[in-house]
């Protein structure tokens, strides 16, 4: 589908609850425009409703709504593909489509204004290379500032300093000038709460995909909890099929 020259451009999957009138702020479209965007308009049904039944009645409405969102991205100068899915399980659909389009990151939407300050929250094992490639694509040509924040649980055996330095180095290699990158590390009791607390200072958050644990199944992914607590949208960087490098 894509030209080979575009192969290096990261793809961002933007899931939108299309029949509930969820739109996306224009500022976000501008921010994401340098990347390729796949807008996934989805509608979650209870299991007693066949997906086909919903599509017969609401397909056209869903398609025109998602097309409107995609158009906003194109008007902001980006590439955008529109897809519509009826499902009983949002996560399954997002995961399937993200895999199909080879998405670098998935957006968890939140209200946003102009994106000037970006928070890159580094937690545990992340795919630093994909993360850096994504951030560099989004802000490389602009003037936005990035804060790379390494957050670890107190007493955890993780070298946050090294992980943060690694991300910073990769961003610089990819053309983000040093004066636009700030770094910090913190060892705190509740990392998610700490990221949420700091999110007020930033306009958007980039995080690595969290690992599936028993705890995360019970209370939700770290990234989802951050998105719920924060006022800024969260870009979740997915692990690559064969990560070239990981840190932490």
């Amino acid at each position: 589908m894509r030209d080979t020259q575009d192969a290096a451009t990261p793809t961002i999957l933007v899931p939108v609850k299309v029949l509930e009138g969820q739109g996306l702020p224009e500022t976000l479209a501008t921010f994401l425009a340098p990347a390729d965007v796949v807008v996934l308009g989805y509608h979650v049904l209870p299991e007693q409703t066949p997906a086909e039944q919903a599509s017969l009645q609401f397909e056209e409405r869903a398609q025109s709504a998602v097309e409107n969102v995609a158009r906003a991205f194109r008007e902001a100068g980006g590439e955008a593909e529109a897809r519509v899915a009826f499902t009983h399980d949002r996560d399954q659909t997002v995961e399937r489509v993200a895999t199909e389009v080879g998405a670098t990151a998935v957006l968890l939407p939140n209200p946003v204004g102009e994106v000037d300050d970006l928070l890159v929250a580094v937690r545990g094992a992340i795919d630093a290379d994909r993360l850096a490639a994504l951030v560099a694509t989004l802000i490389g040509a602009g003037t936005q500032r990035v804060t790379v924040l390494g957050v670890t649980s107190e007493g955890a055996d993780v070298d946050a300093e090294a992980a943060v330095a690694d991300v910073r180095e990769r961003l610089r290699t990819r053309g983000v000038s040093a004066d636009r990158i700030a770094t910090e590390t913190a060892a705190v009791e509740r990392p998610v709460a700490d990221i949420v607390a700091r999110s007020g200072e930033f306009d958007a958050i980039v995080m690595g995909e969290s690992e599936e644990t028993l705890w995360s199944t019970l209370v939700g992914d770290e990234t989802e909890r951050v998105a719920e607590g924060a006022i800024a949208p969260v870009l979740v960087v997915r692990r690559g099929p064969a990560p070239e490098s990981t840190s932490g």
Partner: protein
Amino acid sequence: MVPDESSRESDGGVVVTGPTELTDEASVTEEGTELERTIGLAGGFAIGVGTMIGAGIFVFPGLAAGRAGPAAAGSFAIGAVVALLVALPASELATAMPKSGGGYYFVSRALGALPGAVVGLSIWLGLVFATAFYLVGFGNYAAGILAEVGVPIGNATVVSLALVAGVLLTALNVFGTENAATLQNYVVGLLLAILIVFLGYGGLDALGVFGAPSTRERFMPFGPFPMFTTAALVFTSYLGFAQVATVAGDIKRPGRNLPLAMVGSVLAVGALYVATIFVATSAFGSAALSDFGETAIVEVARAFAGRAGAVAILLAGLLATVSSANASVLSTSRAVFAVSRDVILPTAAGRMNLRYGTPHVALALGGGPTLALVALGEVEVLAEVASFLHLVMYGLICVSLVVLRRDEPEWYAPAFRVPAYPFVAVPGAVASFGLIAFMQPLSQVVGVAIMVVTAGWYKYYASDVSLKGAL
């Protein structure tokens, strides 16, 4: 490519389209919309088991043992074999056409719009009758529990309890955005747990672990013939495995999960039935069971564990009727959707609402008549009519397989193929139609009348519908 279009060929005709591209994870409509497949093997299995284990497992042991002696276990085994003869062809057809609608869809595509319409509309009515029967069964078990704990009950209480359950189930499905289907899985799980404890204890007891082994009774006190006629009586307890195919459009990896869920649920339920008869006849002997009649299993449980045992089995009966009723309400709604999609009923019948995301019209077309029937009574005859209509569909499913296999259309590419299909589908069809002969004349007359009325409706309302892909 699956046949999925129907159209009205007359002027200003309606053209209906459906998913055209089918994969393991999602299907894609002509407009490019993706329909996620989200029901796994466990979900499909729960639909099959939940629909089948209705009141039958508790009602039939006494009646069947009276007719056939301990060989009643053989009757249930024969029933399972007949069910498998239909489940295998149904599985093949479902993997070739993994779409909402199940039996209606196969028959209409293989045999044509008229037989399809008769099956689709009569299964809708048959499911309504069956649901009413399950709800009255629920009322009886609930009243039984009340009686055990000392609350006096009358016949009016049974009907009121059944009506309340019916209203709650329909409301749950219309307003329950938190997945009524998940509730189904819990109900079936709890039911199976109670049954396995009961059968495990009873089985050990029968083998003499808790005292002297029970005296051996002759396996066929009345000879082999009653074993076969009794099989016809108890086959009702296997109705429902084909409902798995009604969710074919939403099931993950349909090529693998549909056959496994359908065949697996028949085998599981058959094993439970046979074990139940073994335990019951070992505990009491068939003459005593026959005297207990419809409450035989409750008396067996009472003999094992006193009042607690009796209440536990009544509770299991309650869960069994809830799961059957709930599964049937869901199947009814899907059956209505499938025929309205092909414009055999007005398409408004398939409409859903965005607020709850549920097909409220189809659910009401199931729940409304059901409540009316419960209130009016006479559900026993209607239950047999429901069996009649199911058996007609099962027979036609087998015929559909033979027709499709003899001259395979281009689109026909099932992931699962029945081995030696004529030796499965032909006996399956003969057995299904043959079982109808054992029914009461009244049920046969009502069943035929319903089929004539549905055929009349087709001629009146939908005779200009032609189904693309039909042979």
